[in-house]
Structures are given as C-alpha cells and as structure tokens.
C-alpha cells in the first residue's frame, strides 16, 4: 500500500512550531514599530508650495524662531507666519525670484499661502506651546535641528508615551528660558552646573493626568 504521507511531511511539526512560536512575535514587533508614530510620522517631509529653507534662514542668516512663529510664547499654537512676514524682507530681497512667486501672488491677491502641516497632534489632544516655552523646553527638543533642514522633517514621534516620558522626568529636557530658541545649545557636562542653571528657573509641575491634555 502506498504511503499516505510523503517523507517531507515529517518536517511539518517543526516548521509549524517555529511559525507558531515566532510568527506572533514577529507580527507583534512589526505592528509595534510599523504602526507606531516612530515609523508613520518620524521622517515625514512633505513638499511645500514654496521650498522655504530653514537651513538658510535660521541656520545661516540667524533668524530667531520667534521672528516668524511669533505667538509661541503667548499662545497655545506656534503660528505659521503670515505672508506679510515673508514680504517684510522679500519685497527687497530676491524680488523677482521665481521660487517666491507664490508668496508674491499671495501678498497681492490676498489669498493666503497653503502650507502643508508637518507636526500634528490628534484633535482630542491639546498641546500648549506657551507653557512649554515658559518651562524651558527648547524648540529643538521636539522639533529637532530645524536649522539644518532644507525641508522641515518631523524628527520626533510626538506620541503620548513620548510626551509622558518627558512629563514624568522633565529635568533632562529643560534649559534656561533664554536658550529656548538656541538650537545649538548644549547643557553643561557637569551635573551640578546643570542643576544650578535650572535652579534659577521656575519650578515646573507638568501634568501627567489625562485632564492635562485631553479635554
């Protein structure tokens, strides 16, 4: 009588065990990373209507973040600058540049520029810029080295766990308020000097409860 099961069937239980053992692990790891903001959001670099270069304006020309994003110290949102801010310089500088044509169009027609948003939190999470500036969190902490980016790229996942990591231990991420927009600032190596620097600042008590950010 012929064999019902061919010899290669002998390997099946081992293969099945390996798949059953490793499969969920791989799937979980895959979902854990690939479905998280670490993958889906970090590195997001949309093409903007005008190739505005922070590397040029901030890195080389030395504009402070607050020149354009003026409301960051007083408001919950850090605004994208109005066309007027661009035209402050560009009505004289590079007046006829083709790349700046949309800006000039906007200034003339009154239709606003439509930038693509890079950093976005879900609608149910409310983030307040002014509290963080006042607490001494540098722009670079969440936004990365904008002064080295030709096109703005999201460098941090901005996920809730990432935010909570700092909220539960804000010390390492704090700097004197005067250095908040200084992208090149590094904390002093000496722990005591670091502590002394921060002792002059207001004590912070970042919310770790749901009501702090979810309304």
């Amino acid at each position: 009588m012929a064999q019902i099961f061919a010899p290669w069937w002998n390997k099946l239980p081992i293969v099945a065990a390996l798949v059953a053992g490793l499969g969920p692990v791989v799937a979980t790891a895959g979902v854990w990373y690939y479905f998280s903001p670490w993958y889906t959001d970090v590195g997001y670099r949309p093409v903007q209507p005008v190739p505005y270069s922070h590397k040029l304006h901030v890195g080389e020309l030395g504009l402070d973040c607050r020149y354009c994003h003026a409301s960051v110290e007083r408001s919950a949102v850090a605004n994208i600058p109005p066309t007027q801010t661009c035209m402050n310089c560009h009505q004289l500088v590079k007046r006829d540049s083709a790349l700046l044509a949309p800006i000039r169009d906007s200034a003339q027609s009154g239709r606003p520029m439509r930038w693509i948003r890079v950093h976005k939190l879900p609608d149910y999470a409310y983030f307040t810029h002014r509290s963080h500036i006042a607490a001494g969190v540098g722009c670079v902490t969440c936004h990365g080295r904008i002064d080295e980016m030709e096109t703005v790229t999201q460098m941090a996942p901005l996920s809730m766990s990432w935010c909570l990591d700092c909220h539960r231990d804000p010390g390492p991420n704090r700097r004197p308020v005067s250095e908040v927009t200084n992208m090149k600032w590094t904390p002093p190596r000496d722990a005591q000097a670091r502590a002394a620097l921060l002792s002059h600042e207001r004590p912070v008590n970042p919310p770790t409860e749901c009501s702090g950010c979810h309304r």
């Binding site: 949309p46 949102v77 207001r202 749901c210 309304r215």
Partner: protein, 1001 residues
C-alpha cells in the same frame, strides 16, 4: 435613612405609577435605544461590516495631508490661538443686553454677559446664549433676491432710487414701513429723518409678542409714553398677576438676579422676599411663588379690583363680591402683607393683561408707596413702541390699494400678524414689497425684493436698555453673507446713498458724546460696552385715581374655555425657530421639546377624557386648529394655553414644519387671551417628546427644601459654619429638629470606603454648589453649556428615546396638590464624585480621576460599553449613539469652540466642569506667577446663570465663595448614602410661606 415626608413627582404618569412609566424608567436606555433606526437590524449590520472588512484593504495607512493656512497679514494685535473678547450689545425688542463675546480667530463662539451692564450683570438668558448659533445658521439668506433671482445690493439701491423718485413727488403717500419695536438712538434718528423726507409715509410698529397693553395702561396713568423698570432687588413682597418676569420678560436676567438676591438675603439673616403669583397658566414665576393662586386670565381684572378694595385704594369702591374659586383669606393675607411692606412691595401685571389692569396696578403701586423704589418709570426715548392698531390701519390701506411700496424692516408679518388681518392677502396688493429677513422667511418669499439681514454679531448699531443705558452694537465679524442691518437699509432710504453702518452710527453718537475728543470717547464706549451715566431720568406718573374704577368696566369675556397665547420661552415669536439648540431645549416648565402642545389642567383633561398626546381641535373665533394636548399640573381649569412661534413653513431645515402654527387662530382684538374657545377631542394621537420622565426620585430626598421659619428656628441656625474639609464629606449637617417635617437636615451618615482614596492636598480642588433657593429653572445654564462644549443636537425622535445630549439638565419636580402643586428646579451637572462609580467600571480606563478632583473623560479611549453610564446613579452621562456631527454644515462648524473636542459616534461624554477653562486658568496663573484666584475660573453654567445660583471654585481655599457655600448648613449631597462623595452639592430650597395662609391652597 430617614424617610422623606414630602413626596415629589415629575409627571402624572409617575404619580399614577402607570406601567408604561415603570417600563420607561427601568431601562436607562429604553427599549430600542441601542437599535439602529428604520429597520436595519443588528444581523444585517454585522453582515455588512464583515463584508466591507474583507473588501477593504489597508490602503491609506499614512495620515492624510493637512494644510495649515495662515493669514496674509495679521489684524492688529492678533495672535492665533488667543481668543479675543469684545463688548457688544444684543438688541431685543426694547431691551438691550450688554454682552462680552469671545472670538476665536475672528469667529464669535461664546457669548457672556457684560458685568458692567445693568441689563445683564454679567449673566445671560437662554436666548442670549443661543443667539450665537443664529449667526452661523446654514439657512441664512445669502444674497439679495428679486422675485427669487439672486441680485446684488447695488441692484437694489438702483431700484430703490427709482421708487424713491416716484414717492418724492407726493411726500411718500404710497410708502409704508413695517418695523418691530426697537429702542435705538440711530434707528430713532433715521426714522425721524425718513418721516421728514416722506411726511405722508405710513409706519407700523408691530411686535407679535408685545407689551403694548402695558404701555397703553402706563400712558393713561402718566399722560405720556413711559416705560417701567422693575426693581426686584428692592422688593420684599412681590405679586405677579398673570406675569412671568423671571422667564419670558425681556428683562428676565435683571429680574432673576434681583429676585435671587432677595431669596439669598433671607437665608443669610436678612429679609427674604415672598412671591405671590396669580395666574391661569403655569409660568416659571408661578413655579417660584411661595403662594400661587390659579385664576383665569380674564378674572385678573376682578382680582385686582378686589385687592384694591382690601388695600383701601382710592376710588376702589366697596369690596366686590368674592371671586368664584378664590378663597377670600388669600386676598386678605396678600393685602395685609403688601400693606405691611409699603415701599418694599411690588405688583407686576403681565404683558397679556389689558391696559386697564396695568393702569390699576400702576395706581396700586403708587398707593403702596412702591413707586420710585421697587418700580421706577422713565420716559421712553429713541424707541418705537409697538401698536397692533398701526398694523391694522396699514393693512386696511394696503387692501385698499393705497400702498405702492412696502418695506418690512423687521419682523415676519406674513407669519405672525393677527389672523383676522389676513396680511398675506393685503401684501399681495402691494406692487413693490421689500423684506429684510434673516432667512427667506414667510414674508420674504412673498416679497418682490428680499434683503439678507445681518445678525447683530456682524452689525454696527446701537441700543438703549430698559432704564436708558445706551450702548453700541459692535460687530465681531464682517457680515458672513453680505447681510444688511436695518440701520443700513434705513440709512439708504433716508440719504439715497449707501453709507456703511459704522458711519451712520458714529454720526448718531457725535452729538451724544460731543465732537471734542470724540474718537477717544467712542473707543471708551466700545470698550466698556455701555455709555456710563446714560440712564434716563425717572418720572413719577400721576396717582391715577380713576384707574381702579376703570377696572370694573373691564368685562370678563364670555363663557367657553379661555384660550391663552403664550410666547415660547425659547423661540419667542418664532424668530429663533431655526436654532437647533432652542428647539431641543426642554421648555423650562413643561419639558417638551420640538413641539408646542396645547396645555390644559388635569381636571380639564379629565372632563374631556384627554390624555397626553391626544389631538384636539380648538375652535375659537370662527377659526380652528388641531394640535396635541399636554397636561400641565398647576394650570387653571377651563383654560387652554397655546404657544406661538411654531408651525413655520419657511424657517429653514430645523424649524420648518416643526410644531403647530397658533398664529393662525390669534386675532388682533385679543392677542393675549380670550374666552369663547372650545376643545373637542379627535380620535388620533401625536407623539410628543419630553425629557421630564427621564429619571425619577424613587422616594429619595434628591430635592430638599424647608421653610424660612424652620431654617431660622431649627438647630442648624445655631451651627457655626464649619469649613468643608478638602474633598471629604459635606459639612456635618445638624440633626433633624423637632417639627422639621421636610427632612432637610439629615443625620450624618458614616462615610467609609473600600477604595483607596485619592489625596487632595495639592493645587486647587474644584467643587461646585448649586443653590436651589436661587435657581429659577430658566435653563440658561443648559444652553451655555451646549455652546461652550460643542454639545450636539439630536432631534425629536432621539430625545424620545432618552438620547438627548445635554450635559447639564434641569429637573423639575412637583409636590403637593395635583391641581396646584409646588415646584422646584434642580440643575444636574456631573457630580464629579470623588469615589466615582463610573470610574470603577470602565474596562478601558477612559474615565479616570485627576488630582484636582475632576472626573475626567478621555474620549479617545472610550469604546462605548456604556457601563459607566449604567453605573452612574445620577445618570449624567450622555452617549453618542450616532455621529451627530457628521453632517454638520461647514458654516455651523464655525460656531464650535476649538478648545473642546468634537465627539464622534460611540463615545461617552459628560460635564467636565469646563476643564478647558480650568486648564486655561491654571496656565494663565502659572505663567503670571500666582496661584489661581477665586473667580478666575468660571464654568459656563456659572457664568450664564442670571440668578447666580451656581458657585464654583477651589474648595481647599477657605476664603473662596464655594467653600463658604459648602459650609452652609443647607448644603447637602445628592444620594450621599451611596458614598460617591460628589463635588457638586446643593443648597436646599427655602420657601417663605405666609403664616396667615397656612393650609390655604
């Protein structure tokens, strides 16, 4: 648990314990509540879900591209994300509400009262709160129209030029204007200018709901046009005769504050006011009364005559025979009380009462020395006074073909003019009719030209409040749809040119403020929201000795049932019919939504074998109307009350076809009430939706009340106010005193808990008290909460299934005699329990507690098990059964508060103590370097309450108002035996009955 000696009930179904009531009660989400509508069953749904899942791929995992769009140039001093506040005014009839409006990125989103303005005192009413939605009404007319074709304003100006040329020849003999009443310096100036330009022009001022009878009565007393101002804050004894100063009167905000102050004064050791009400319908003022007498509206005149005799008023004559159905002891005690409080009493007659009654009341107030104290009079200035007769004579001219051009500047006469005038037919005879309307309403549809009307939040204008305080109406946004204000239309008619409203109003104010330094003074008026010192001087009307004698000539109308035409507390005369918040707002007393049933008393219903929802036909003055009936305890027998403002045909998607048009049977001779009505039961029924049975007390003392005498004599009076320990049980209440029959001062329950307690020793600990003694049940808080927190509107069918979404509800309880019950109102927000039953059962920790005492709702975690709502003993949690915001028109999205999440389907929501305001207050305080001060953070409901019944703040701070309120011996927690330790507590209601009327109903 000591028993409650007074039984409370919310509806007749509950009182009779009908089986369907029991069924409805047992299930919080009634049968079919979680079913999908219209026949889609669960099986079908799951089948579809399975199919669609297998068909859908995982395409589009990346997040959608979102644009971020800045300004081209910022408006001066603006930064995005920071709301701005502007003072403006809402004109309403001849009142003006001074407001401070919050604006986000140039969009007004929330209205508050202006604390400096005498008509609002920082608070608001339900209509004021809901008015912001009217600005973003998607059915607003968006362009000028001629015969239905869209045109431009320029086209209209050109056309008007031609009409004006024709009318200039004969001094405006064929020109007529209909306006609603106003009190505005600019409109008055323009009206006068228009009359100068067209001397033969006819002008009718018509209000569908008007107080012209009062004005006529006052005029006969004073000899000239005067208006009155009621000073409830100075009154110790108040008599309301068919009057509702606490709800439907335009000055209700001020009245409610004065009245509540008088009640609070009594509790804190001063003199408490006492309110008597005599009325045929059950009004909110009557519900607040310490003594209420049911009397048909047509008998009020006889009542006043009898009272005048008891008060020994001049020309009162001998005491008339007793009024049928009225216990003479009642009038006796009332008269004695009024006489004992000369100069501190106040008699108020309602708008529906005839002029003779108002004149007599004016005389009685004068006789009692109340004039100049509790009621002040002033000449009307810059006002157009309503007059039905002016409309009637205009309609006669229109029917006679004498009018070539009719301009409807305000109001909706095709809908709300008296039925006997047949305004639509008259208007059809006018070759050129021009209507200014918010939507293409009933009048605009029949007019040749329709002009979209600008909302007050986008208008330049001005107004004088009652008492004379002048203020400017300042726009917060350019007209969204190119609307024009009455000022601009009139201005164009006067000058022939198209001047902007801004210039016209400034031209009016230049003489008022003086040309010198005008801009600075003008900016000061805009900033403050009023012109300081602009109150009108008081006048004292003559004693009017004839007024009381005149009363006897007011013959009570003939037999038959009495029909009373009530204004809708929410829709007024129908102008707010397209406002979803107002349609869904339960009527403060009857708690019906989205409909206007005919209201009858239980005995009347019994005599006609009527039950709720039975359809009746009302035959009155050779017209008839069919509508459902609702039984309201407390109404006089033989009276049927119908509410106007419903049944519109061209209101918009929300208001059209809702309710029944009672204007169709209302005549010009009797716009308030009349006899000669008859009711006949028809064989069909009409489903009504009401919120009054969504919950029941089940014999538990949820509402507690006492009398002033008990409060003062009971042991609680001797208890020193103990400070509320942070987050612990309420101040230990005194033991029940002897003779304390109402179960107010309960024995303290031993509170212990199996749960690990939170510690509340850091930061502000939020708590709230609601004073039932001050709450008048006006539901301004409900609309304020809806406005602040983006609470959706669900519609009539969903409300019937208990799915209304109001985070804050006002429960209304009756007690006592079925025909003439006493009423108490109780607003129920989330109790923010320290040991919250909802937190303990959420499987996904979507509702958790935070360190400042709030029970926090995290929408993104919620998976919709509804176990939290199941476990909540107070039933304050609302579930989004559907995606109520999915189909929101874009323009309505502008009305939403960006600081609060807009919830989607499947999540639970509830009152959050306005956590967005708390967070903003804490951040502001933190960055300013000081702790949160008492009064820095106000919840929306607290800020809106005209009676200032809600206190909110940090209970850990012993000097805060809320901590002091919680130390009051009247303070109690709802269902405290459940040991939920609610942060929201109540102060028991205190009634002030007249000892002479003990046992007299």
């Amino acid at each position: 648990m000591p028993p409650v000696s007074r039984t409370y009930w919310r509806s007749l179904a509950q009182l009779e314990d009908r089986p369907e009531f029991r069924d409805a009660l047992e299930r919080e989400f009634p049968e079919g509540a979680s079913e999908l509508p219209d026949g889609v069953s669960r099986r079908d749904m799951i089948m579809l879900l399975g199919a669609s899942l297998s068909l859908a791929g995982l395409a589009g995992c990346r997040r959608p591209v979102e644009e971020i769009v800045p300004y081209v140039a910022y408006p001066e001093d603006t930064l995005p994300g920071i709301p701005r506040y502007y003072a403006t005014t809402m004109p309403f009839r001849r009142s003006a509400y001074g407001l401070i409006v919050e604006s986000h990125e140039g969009r007004p989103t929330k209205i508050e009262g202006n604390p400096a303005h005498p008509s609002t005192l920082g608070a608001s009413s339900l209509r004021v709160q809901a008015s912001v939605l009217g600005l973003y009404d998607p059915d607003r007319s968006q362009s000028v129209r001629q015969q239905g074709t869209a045109k431009s304003w320029k086209d209209f100006v050109t056309a008007w030029g031609q009409l004006a040329a024709a009318h200039a020849a004969d001094g405006g003999a064929g020109l007529a204007v209909i306006s609603d009443s106003f009190s505005s310096p600019t409109l008055a100036r323009l009206t006068a200018a228009l009359r100068t330009r067209y001397p033969k022009m006819q002008w009718a001022t018509y209000d569908a709901v008007s107080d012209e009878q009062r004005l006529a009565g006052l005029k006969s007393a004073a000899g000239r046009d005067v208006d009155l101002m009621l000073r409830f804050d100075r009154a110790s004894v108040i008599l309301a005769l068919d009057a509702d100063p606490l709800l439907t009167d335009p000055e209700m905000i001020r009245h409610a504050r004065g009245f509540a102050d008088g009640r609070r004064a009594g509790v804190s050791g001063g003199e408490m006011n006492r309110l008597y009400a005599v009325e045929g319908v059950h009004s909110l003022t009557g519900a607040m009364a310490d003594h209420r007498l049911r009397l048909e509206s047509r008998q009020i005149a006889a009542f006043v005559a009898a009272l005048a005799a008891r008060l020994s008023a001049p020309a009162a004559g001998a005491a008339p025979a007793s009024i049928p159905g009225v216990d003479p002891r009642w009038i006796e005690a009332l008269a004695k009380d009024l006489l004992a409080n000369r100069g501190k009493g106040l008699i108020v007659a309602g708008e529906r009462q005839p002029a003779a009654v108002h004149a007599a009341v004016c005389a009685l107030n004068a006789h009692l020395g109340n004039t100049g104290k509790t009621v002040t009079y002033h000449e009307t200035k810059d006002a157009a006074l309503p007059s039905v007769s002016s409309l009637a004579s205009l309609v006669a001219a229109m029917k006679g073909g004498a009018i070539q051009t009719l301009v409807v500047l305000g109001g909706n006469p095709v809908f709300d003019a008296p039925a006997d005038l047949d305004f639509a037919a008259a208007m059809a005879k006018v070759p050129h009719a021009i209507a200014l309307g918010h939507t293409i309403d009933e009048t605009s549809v029949k007019a040749e030209w329709h002009i979209p009307r600008a909302h007050y939040l986008e208008s330049w204008g001005d107004a004088r409040a009652v008492g004379g305080t002048a203020s400017v109406v300042q726009p917060l946004i350019l007209p969204l749809f190119g609307g024009k204000t009455p000022v601009e239309v009139l201005g164009m008619m006067v000058a022939g040119e198209d001047d902007p409203g801004y210039d016209i109003v400034r031209d009016t104010w230049k003489p008022i403020l003086g040309e010198e330094d005008f801009d600075r003074k003008w900016n000061r008026v805009l900033h403050d929201g009023l012109l300081a010192g602009s109150e009108l001087p008081e006048v004292v009307p003559a004693a009017g000795t004839q007024a009381v004698a005149e009363l006897s000539r007011t013959v009570a109308s003939g037999g038959g049932a009495e029909i009373v035409f009530l204004q809708s507390p929410s829709l007024h005369d129908g102008r707010f019919a397209n406002d979803g918040w107002l349609q869904e707002l339960p009527d403060p007393l009857t708690k019906f939504v989205w409909d206007n049933p005919a209201l009858v008393s239980p005995k009347t219903a019994e005599s006609l074998h009527l039950a709720d929802e039975d359809v009746v036909r009302i035959d009155y003055a050779s017209r008839s109307l069919e509508l459902p009936v609702a039984i309201v305890p407390g109404m006089a027998d033989g009276v049927v009350a119908v509410t106007v403002g419903y049944g519109r045909s061209h209101a918009g998607r929300i208001g059209s076809g809702v309710g029944f048009n009672t204007f169709a049977i209302r005549t010009s001779t009797a716009p308030g009430f009349d006899g000669g009505a008859s009711l006949s039961k028809l064989s069909r029924a009409y489903a009504l939706s009401t919120t009054q049975d969504h919950g029941s007390m089940e014999e538990r003392p949820i509402v507690r009340e006492s009398t002033l005498a008990e409060l003062r004599s009971g042991p609680a009076a001797r208890t020193q106010g103990s400070e509320a320990a942070p987050g612990a049980e309420p101040a230990p209440a005194a033991k029940r005193g002897e003779g304390g029959a109402l179960g107010v001062f309960e024995e303290d329950a031993k509170h212990f808990s199996l749960w690990k307690e939170h510690s509340y020793d850091q930061g502000p600990q939020w708590g709230m008290t609601i004073d039932l003694n001050a709450c008048i049940g006006c539901t301004a808080c409900m609309v304020a909460c809806q406005s602040e927190n983006n609470v959706p509107v669900v519609g009539k069918i969903q409300v019937r299934k208990s799915r209304e979404m109001h985070w804050l509800r006002v429960d209304r309880y009756f007690s006592g005699d079925l025909s003439s019950p006493e009423t108490v109102f109780q607003p129920i927000p989330c109790m923010q329990c320290e040991d919250a039953p909802c937190e303990q059962v959420c499987p996904v920790a979507a509702t958790v507690h935070d360190g400042q005492g709030l029970n926090v709702m995290v929408y993104n975690r919620c998976i919709g098990t509804r176990y939290c709502s199941n476990n909540c003993p107070y039933k304050v949690r609302r579930f989004n059964f559907f995606n109520f915001t999915k189909d929101t028109p874009d323009v309505l999205k502008l009305a939403m508060n960006p600081d609060v999440t807009v919830r989607a389907r499947g999540v639970m929501e509830k009152c959050t103590y306005c956590v967005q305001r708390i967070n903003r207050g804490k951040i502001d305080a933190k960055l300013a370097g000081h702790p949160v001060r008492d009064g820095d953070v106000k919840t929306a409901c607290q800020q809106a309450c005209p009676a200032a019944a809600i206190e909110f703040g940090d209970i850990r701070d012993p000097s805060s108002r809320v901590a002091k309120a919680k130390a009051d011996p009247r303070n109690y927690a709802l269902l405290d035996e459940l040991n939920t330790k609610p942060r929201t507590t109540y102060l028991a209601k205190v009634r002030n009955p007249n000892p002479d009327l003990k046992g007299v109903i």
